[in-house]
Amino acid sequence: MEVSDGATRVLAGLLEARTGQQLQVGRRWRLETGLAPLLRSHGYASADALVSHIQAGHDHALADAVVDALLNNETSFYRDQASFALLKDKGLARLQRERGAGRRLAIWCAGCSTGQEAYTLAMMFADEPARWEGWTIDIVATDVSRGAIEAARAGRYSHFEIQRGLPMAKMVRWFDKEEDVWVAAPALRQAVRFQQRSLLDAAPHPGRFDAILCRNVLLYFSSSLRRQVFGRLASVIAPDGVLMLGAGETVIGNTEVFVSDFECRGLYRPILPEDAWRAA
């Protein structure tokens, strides 16, 4: 199936308006592979037919489905093991010291895809019950994709998904097997609030976070939008909070409101007003 230039423009525009994601020229093939099942299931002969239906503007569910199909949802448990070790041993250790009085942490996993990242966080806490005894850990995980959030909430993983990144001991400890599907244990599912929400909209409740994970999401934003989103994340993170990006991502050249966290290299911290003053 060939997608015409006209249809490509419309679909790329829809994707960017809804999510901020730009369709890379080199990833145009995603249009074809992504849309093929949708065309089949909805009975459209071509992408152009689909596009004109969307442009008529009545079928919001269809537009949602198209956006979902064009998003890259790739993820895995413990994606970049070393980064999660750093978060656990350094980032969370510091927060635990700083928050000893209130014993409460709010964590936002922004762009959580099908849930593996949020459940990884939940396992990190659940695996150390003595360390976190008496603590209230609020994990909220959001994604713009409805399909991804539904999958995340269900917590059901295929034979292949469950074997990406997840050590066997955690797999049998935190997942039950139903036929060929691995289902996150109730304790894990209850530890995370999943919400369909775009990073371009307001931050979720409670609106102030000790740690934010925003990994492999901002890659395909335009640089100006990326800058804007970093600014928003900075406005909802605690002054001593930690930001975790994807292993291949950095703030350098992308924003001035976060800097590398010298105590936990690989994590980022917001720049405080006095730092900003000094930097100016």
Binding site: H159, F160, Q163, R164, P167, M168, M171, V172, K177
Partner: protein, 121 residues
Amino acid sequence: MKTCLVVDDSKVIRKVARHILETLDFSVAEAGDGKEALVYCEATPPDVVLLDWNMPVMSGMEFLRALGEAELSRRPKVVFCTTENGIGHIRAAIEAGADEYVMKPFDRETLYSKLQIVGLA
């Protein structure tokens, strides 16, 4: 170069595993049952053993126990690779000292991921 001993009574599985492992920069040796594998490990312990469960002569579990008792210059990591996908089997493997567990069918990503977990990729 890292070394892996692929232990499986199926020649086809050994070939598939070898191919994937070679793309991951492993030097690969093969054994058709636990006994052969044990002899190999005693002579040249590899970095990791990819181990089938059901095999004639000596099963994966029997191999794992024997490996624990053998005097080796160094202990290889052991990653089970089997169609026995039940939680009971996985727990038994953990108890017997396996380092990781690959459930068949597997692909390159699965193998790569499990080797990363045991610190070899």
